[in-house]
Symmetry: C2
């Protein structure tokens, strides 16, 4: 059984097109031999954002801290601590930090390898 | 896209053998047509615990609040906010609240239906 404090896991810069001021920790992933899905933690600094994109797999997210908006097909919706989200496959989305503190959230994805 | 405050989702008593003072919210599940895995939130009241059991699927957990222990094949290990866990398939486990506040955690499982 893996038990680890998330803060003790290295947060790596997300260097993909469209990402600004975003870091990611792989909390439960390939190195843990997770069988079905992976748990990542994202930290978006103030004024930062994830890419605006879509893809063929879902996200399941839980907002831990901070405030921001998620862009949806119906426009921008506010998000804050305690919110849970399902981003279905092939739906455009983007997370933006609109506050003055880091926006931190879990974002889980199915294993695709 | 589903966006919902977790506290606004009904918490149902977990009435299975070995569970004491446990409630569960299905944050992202079958009703949302989640494709691959489900996100649940458990609330274990002080002195409560989940069943001591094992099964053929994994758990991926994130502790949100409170304090407790998880029973592992190597004994009881402390858990607290910000801890992430992988319980591999077929490994015995149990979550116990050893504090005086609710122990709240996310516990995700693969879709099996």
């Amino acid at each position: 059984m893996k038990i680890q404090r998330a803060d003790d896991i290295t947060a790596n810069d997300v260097n993909i097109d469209g990402a600004e001021k975003v870091r990611m920790r792989m909390l439960v992933g390939p190195d843990d031999e997770a069988p079905t899905f992976y748990m990542r933690q994202f930290v978006v600094e103030p004024s930062g954002h994830t890419p605006r994109h879509e893809h063929g797999w879902e996200h399941e997210c839980y907002i831990l801290a901070g405030s921001g908006v998620v862009l949806t097909p119906d426009g921008a919706k506010p998000i804050g601590p305690g919110d849970c989200l399902l981003v279905p496959p092939n739906e455009e989305h983007q997370f933006r930090n609109t506050g003055d503190q880091p926006l931190t959230f879990l974002c889980l994805v199915p294993k695709t390898d």
